[in-house]
Symmetry: D2
Subunit: 338 residues, 4 copies
């Protein structure tokens, strides 16, 4: 951390900062400029201490963090990219992993029909919402336990891993029994109570980026999941909130390169929730793979016009087929395959 003293700060005030740093076991080096003193606070754990601890001291003008606040998710902690095994499917390897299926499980028929189709077309994982976090209490909330059983049936009948969202602590155990990957939704990215419980489960976890979370906050949230030893964490960019109103969320395409730069964790992209409209999904999906994403999470519905949730952003089967055909050459162009 870099503590900038204000002009005219006294020697005592500087000493106070130094003492505070020493109390945390940090090293300190003073930079005596003509106009201002700058105190460099050094140590591998400075990322764990709030800047406020120094910023409140008298004579301090500002405190700037040099070390990132996350550790376990960082490249410095784990220099090489993590490859994560999900029931035999590797995420973060050469294969671009397509996870596809309906936003919400609506019936066994709807789920099975979609699962068979997407598997045949090359999807490696089937997605399907059982517990749905809805912005309005009057909306359809998901089939819950019944949906979990349908997902388990897809898994056993088709031999394909399934992913579904966890929305509360109570159901973690139940969901872990039926699903291969537990998904943390964007609105729960900083639901730390949920993250702490999930860190104790040894299932692969997909952590969606919060609607307005910086990449740094996202990786710090991943540290919660990594803290108990679970290494199988997958990040998922799904768009952030901006002023732009032609799409539901603005997909942050640069987050792929940034995450790859700072973290070893694999990152996939959800173009469906970002776009909010099926017409924009293919363009974003192709961009994501070209940018280096390790996979996609795509909503597919056999009949979007009858979907109970988010029909507009779902591809129907023929559109998904067309997209998969378009994605393959892009994957090859970046030295990967689907």
């Amino acid at each position: 951390m870099i503590v900038e003293m204000s002009r005219g700060a006294t020697r005592d005030q500087v000493d106070h900062v130094v003492e505070r740093a020493h109390s945390f076991g940090f090293e300190v080096q003073l930079n005596l400029g003509i106009e201002k003193t700058v105190v460099a606070i050094l140590g591998s754990d400075t990322g764990k201490v709030q800047t406020d601890v120094f910023a409140v001291l008298p004579g301090v003008e500002s405190v700037i963090r040099v070390m990132k606040p996350y550790k376990l998710a960082s490249r410095e902690f784990h220099p090489r990219p993590s490859k994560i095994n999900v029931s035999g499917v590797e995420v973060g390897g050469q294969r671009v992993v397509i996870m596809a299926g309906p936003c919400a499980v609506e019936s066994e028929k709807q789920l099975m029909e979609t699962a068979k189709a997407v598997k045949e077309l090359g999807a490696a994982v089937v997605r399907g919402g059982a517990f749905k976090p809805r912005t309005s209490p009057f909306s359809f909330q998901g089939l819950e336990k019944d949906a979990l059983k349908m997902l388990a049936k897809v898994k056993s009948d088709l031999g394909i891993p399934v992913i579904t969202e966890v929305v509360d602590i109570q159901n973690i155990g139940l969901i872990a029994k039926h699903a291969d990957i537990l998904q943390v939704g964007a609105r729960n990215m900083q639901n730390f109570a949920l993250l702490k419980e999930l860190s104790k489960v040894m299932h692969p976890i997909l952590l969606k980026r919060g609607l307005s979370a910086t990449v740094t906050e996202w990786l710090t949230a991943a540290d919660y999941l990594l803290a108990e030893g679970n290494r199988r964490i997958i990040l998922c960019e799904r768009g952030v909130r901006t002023f732009e109103d032609s799409v539901r969320f603005s997909l942050d395409i640069s987050s792929i390169a940034v995450v790859k730069h700072f973290s070893h964790l694999p990152i996939i992209v959800d173009p469906s929730h970002a776009a909010g409209h099926f017409a924009y999904v293919p363009s974003i999906a192709k961009a994501a793979i070209a940018a280096g994403a390790d996979g996609l999470l795509i909503e597919v519905h056999p009949n979007p016009r009858e979907a109970l949730i988010d029909g507009l952003q779902s591809l129907n089967i023929p559109n998904f087929e067309r997209l998969m055909a378009e994605l393959r050459p892009i994957a090859e162009a970046v030295g990967r395959y689907i």
Copy 2:
């Protein structure tokens, strides 16, 4: 809802939209323009239906919502401002209610010292965090149950209501036993699992606005809390995420007038979390009262330099005293008192 058909949409496509609307029990009126057909879908419950239901139909260009998606929190549902009784303190009435205390309860001494001081200076409620949602798993997480007992002691010794945050479902019952107001933090505003459980508690609830939630989403989240009959919901504006980097969050001062326009719920303001720096707190606090806020939630610490969390944004007691003296004439200027 207003469904705009695309240029050249067929009669069949228009009929399809009409049928879909009728299937929900809505009325329909057609507007046949020269270039485009516009279908108006009318009914008091259109706010509960996703626009996607129509947007996915062939020939539809766009769907625009006229009715708000929230209902119970709206002025149309409850035309007059709600006044909420919290253990004898009225929120939403003529008194501007000041809630003050430390970000986190750190010790009985720290809490009691602060509580006595703020009560004497005019605070109506004491705040203190027991369970802390922290962005990093390595940070201090709160004294939890011990802190609840200390809050209960403040309540009984000083006869002043207390407010503390709920971060998970498991502890709702325990917290409700000790605290007068249950606070939902910004990062949990759309933790619907938590909201659903809280709606069953008949305690007053303070719902902070999410970091990137629109006012509409915030009021829709309030609908979750109101759905089971609890009427004692207080909104709290605490700043939203923007590009501006001189403060932690940008306090949305206009949200006060907007909330008062669309909702009957009282709204208070947290200047401390928004500013992130004690020096900016008084200016924002004064603005909030002038704008019509029903109260303030302010962080006060007897010794911010030793605070374990967020010391920089906490006022010390003399600064809080000065602020209270400045707030009183503002409250009077808008026809209220503290």
Copy 3:
């Protein structure tokens, strides 16, 4: 436009809205719901009238625009994609057009060396800043007229079109004499005085998206340029301002699909200004082409370490060579070439 009357609006108030609409020559259709009256205002020119004109009338609750405020830039006005000829290079056709060169022209040697290299590596246009809009008055402001002459020399010696930025009205004529494409920078996207003058020049114009402009505002700004008959307008996405702080601007990848949906104008992408760091440029550049962009605007400098402006975001020649090799298979994967 859709005018929603408030509950209890009188017949007179509705009539007033109808009269106002008629005064603009618009058609009107009434939708009498049980709770509310909705007035649909129809006509092909409603996009040109401010919603305020109706929103201020008594009894009006809200006014929603159905027609877009832009016209000449829209697909409805010009259904097929525009292909723009720039001194023999087609923008918007099958070739992905790479425009590359230094942020600022610093010397004839620097410019010529870069121009030769990028041309040989496949760039179709050379970029180079002559007049620089700088956020600080103390920064290097560009070589101005001298730079224009160097650009003209590149154009005549190498036979490659050049693009440079226009920052004020006075120099339009001068720049038009030397450059093939006139660039409007992001900070000038709504400098309407400049746009109006530029609309009178028949040169191709590249219109960068404003830092916080919606796609709708961007296309409306394009209408200014199209208003006098100039058809050769190229859009350039260069990132928008968000809360994310790991990059300079967040490239809005979805804007490519959105622009293609609503407009006939070609769109290229500037990954350099968005990223702010050369390490992120290749990932974003590849994504842009996969998403369907018609070209790229890339900063290349023979020695970024000595660059006077924005060295960090510039590729050196070997990095540009590597990028071009990576871009070609992506272009082919989407059925195009470089």
Copy 4:
């Protein structure tokens, strides 16, 4: 500036950074941590150098700016608040200066009627747009020179200073002849060509904050105006672009305290453009004064229903009268008067 070297950076790489710093005449101090070397670059002019100059050097991980990039607008340059005399009216003093009038001058009658009313009700300056920057080329663009004459008539007949916007360089001289304060609109805050020309005029200038400008960028833009010796610069906060859609722009109330902290320049607030709706103007206006703003810029129209521009955000005369009555006690509560 603080240059953080990456782990494993060589001694040569560190030396390279040091040399580069010396080449600008800066002092350097090395901080040799266990894991990383941090180079502190000291000097009063480091704010004028781009961080890129160091960030591009090999072995550099990141560069962080400690000194602000602005200088003349800073408190360090001019410690005490500036008071600006505008034709006898002091801005930045004890009087809260109300500037009021129509968005656009539409006729002599409309302007004179409004001017008389607002003057009588306590406004110190009359506003009125002559040249209008409009987002669509099809919208009313202002009465231009005719409007300037009407403003000059108001000034001479009523003896009250007038303010109007400058949108291009050509008309600066003309406007300066008729108006007391030249206004730079939000969309021109970084129109540096315009700022440079305006810095040569010795008129008071009101600099509106850009739609997505940080406070730091705003003060840096002010440096352009201050660079030639003009000291009479007034800042105007008018709302920034965020995701919130219930208002046109989100007024950044905390910018008042932040500007007062870092700059000596007076700051006023425009609640009308921020709100976009007259109903929200009073709440924001009161908040601004309570927060410490030195004045307000308010749109008033004798008949908003007939306004050619922005009618919805204009107060009519009775509403303005009511607002002035509400503002006076707030001004008194903060030790000022209107």
